[in-house]
Amino acid sequence: DEFTVSDIEVEGLQRVSAGNVFSAFPVGIGESLDEQELADAIRNLFKTGLFTDIEAYRDEGTLILAVRERPAIASIDIEGNKNIETDALMDALSAAGMEEGQVFRRATLERLELEILRSYVGQGRYNARVKATAEERPRNRVAVRLDINEGDVAAIRHINIVGNEAFSDEELLDLFELQTSDWWSSLTSKDKYARERLSGDLETLRSHYLDEGYLDFNIESSQVSISPDKRDVFVAVSVTEGNQYTISDISLRGDLIVPEEELTELIDIEPGDTLSQSALTATSERLSRRLGREGYTFANVNAIPESTSENTAAVTFYVEPGNRTYVRRINFEGNVTTKDEVLRQEMTQMEGGVASTDRIEFSKTQLERLGFFQSVSVDTTPVPGSDDLVDVTYTVQEQPTGSLSASIGFSQVSGVILGANISEKNFFGTGKRVSIGANFSESIKSANFSYEDPYYTVDGVSRGFSLFARETDFEEQDISSYLLDEYGGRLTFGYPIDRFTRLNFGVGYTLSKIKAGSYTADEVLEFIDDEGDSFGNYFLTGSWRRSTLNRGVLPTDGYSHSLSADVAVPGSDLTFYKLRYKGDSFWPLNEDETWIVRTRGELGYGDGYGDRSQMPFYEHFYAGGYGSVRGYRANSLGNRELTNNPNDSDDDDPFGGNVLTEGTLELIVPTPFAGDTRSMRTSVFLDAGQVFDTTRGFDPDLGEIRTSVGIGFQWITVVGPLAFSLAQPLTDQSGDETQVFQFSLGQSF
């Protein structure tokens, strides 16, 4: 029987607003309503999930809805979970709609109980127990509790491989991640059974056999059984090895694009070798990469072995080049401060050009070499609607590239430094290197400005210039007893001569003034007598640098060698030259490059020429200290000058020398507790080095080399590279000034 609704009232609302009810109850005032329509309307209201019970009855024209709200969740507590994080559980709950303030549904709670239990069983915790309860709370709310008893994990007591003859059980079990229990297994938890780990191990077993030529190898069955008390797990794997195959012949089939000889050269397996799956895959990859260089980025090469006798097989490489692909657009993401051009100029792959996998990959390394980014990733995605166009997107994560030493600094060399020094390798994201500095301390007053544009031309010809003025009072600095003022400038150019090597050269002028201090050493006084105390020198500098380092900051692979010469050309007051070699190489020991061997070497030689028989003493090389031979005070190695400081007889200052030999052997280790971060580095090192002065009878001899061992730590911070080292000198002799703890800020080494 129909009736028109003159008014609607809702009873029993506690927390739900009337607005919500009306918006979900499709009945307007004045509408006529029959039984069926009323039932549909109520069902619609139920769908909101806000109510456990809805009743409708009539009072003449007014329709009265008596509702009972579904309780809301007041709180959620989880107890007893150790191996699944609480917030992982909370996320799972909120994903299923179980959050504080949300509507509580018992069915969801039961489903969650089951899901949590299942994930525990997946971890091999067979006797885990999960109990979920909901306790009433005032004003129609409930407190949800999850009681978890994880129980202990079933440990693997025995793994038995049956049917293996070519390899012993021990050999095969070494490949497994799952291990039987040993006293240390509680640390590695390798003996904890989990289904995924077993299937992973079976895959490793299969690829081991396929790599050893067992083409017909097959895993018949793997059965897992558990002891009645659910504490011990047993794994039995039965295999059939089949014969070991060798390669009878190799052929290429399909559209090769490049001449066949070029491809056969890349095949490094030959008839007679054992048929190794990994060798086939590696060769196929090499072939498809070669096609990638021709623009066939989606080339597909797979090797199919077919048995030609019961222990030989013919291998055919099927080449499917696909379409030659072109790059439509190259996009950069994440460069919020670095300009687009700074990234684009590193690209050897052009837009609108043939897509080459080599160039796309090489461009990624070029970006990493800049040292501006903590991480660089590239992905090549097909352009929808075309079958031969791709877009390439480089995603970078920027990292601090400058160093900002604040006004109060302290360096062991020159005491408290006042003043600021800003150097930025990526000046406002323009890719230019700029550094401006002014320092005042008792021993050094200096100001410097340098600017370099690495891309003065589009091919990477760099142009830069620098100006500096420095007044030092060496007495304070405990180097030696005279005052040196220097003013000058340099103009430098550089350009690449191949993908990894650069030539640099420059011209410059330096005016040096020496003032004798109170206890100036005899050598200095002699020098001043015959040479005078002020020299203007014109410099010609040149250097050759080859670097394949894979990253600009804290590299993990590759090497860099540089040979440089500074010559004070004729026409200068003092004609001399300084040659210097620097070498640095990194050998990663493992796949994710957390263990690396590093060797660093530096050699220097200086001498006078023309009417000068030796290089000026203030241009001497020094050694010792952080960045050189750690464990010894900065610049303290080598020859000592004969001081005539009466009351400080043993304090004769280091005088440096014209021959520098320095070297470091370092093992870079993963930084503890820091996880895999690219901005920290911990290493164990052996430093060795010495400075000699052939012009004053301090000739090079192995006995004099100073060595030290220690631990070093580096951290790229916003303020700049921070580094410190703890070093124990080994071959120090009496009179050496040793220093166990040393640090530096702003100088990456």
Partner: protein
């Protein structure tokens, strides 16, 4: 530009189109058939869709740029004819 022996990369642009590919074309083909033979054209004229350019350029180590051009003409969406001046070889890198 100026220093002796500066290493300059080769700059390749545009579609590589060979005689064999052109040989597959016959008038009356649809645009997509032409594209599957020659590849997707990388240079278009925003104002005139009746023509598609298959331009190819190759600059070796910063030297002068060798160019090649194939202009494909359409009447609506069917291929009519093309003009071509091909280089004898078209390296990809």
């Amino acid at each position: 530009c100026v220093f002796p022996g500066v290493y300059k990369i080769n700059v390749q642009q545009g579609n590589i189109v060979t005689e064999e590919a052109i040989a597959q074309l016959e008038p009356g083909m649809s645009r997509s058939q032409v594209h599957s033979a020659l590849g997707t054209p990388l240079t278009l004229n925003a104002a005139d869709t009746s023509v598609e350019y298959y331009v190819y350029t190759f600059q070796e180590a910063g030297g002068d740029i060798r160019k090649q051009k194939v202009v494909v003409h359409y009447d609506g969406d069917t291929y009519t004819h093309l003009e071509k001046q091909l280089l004898d070889e078209q390296p990809a890198y």
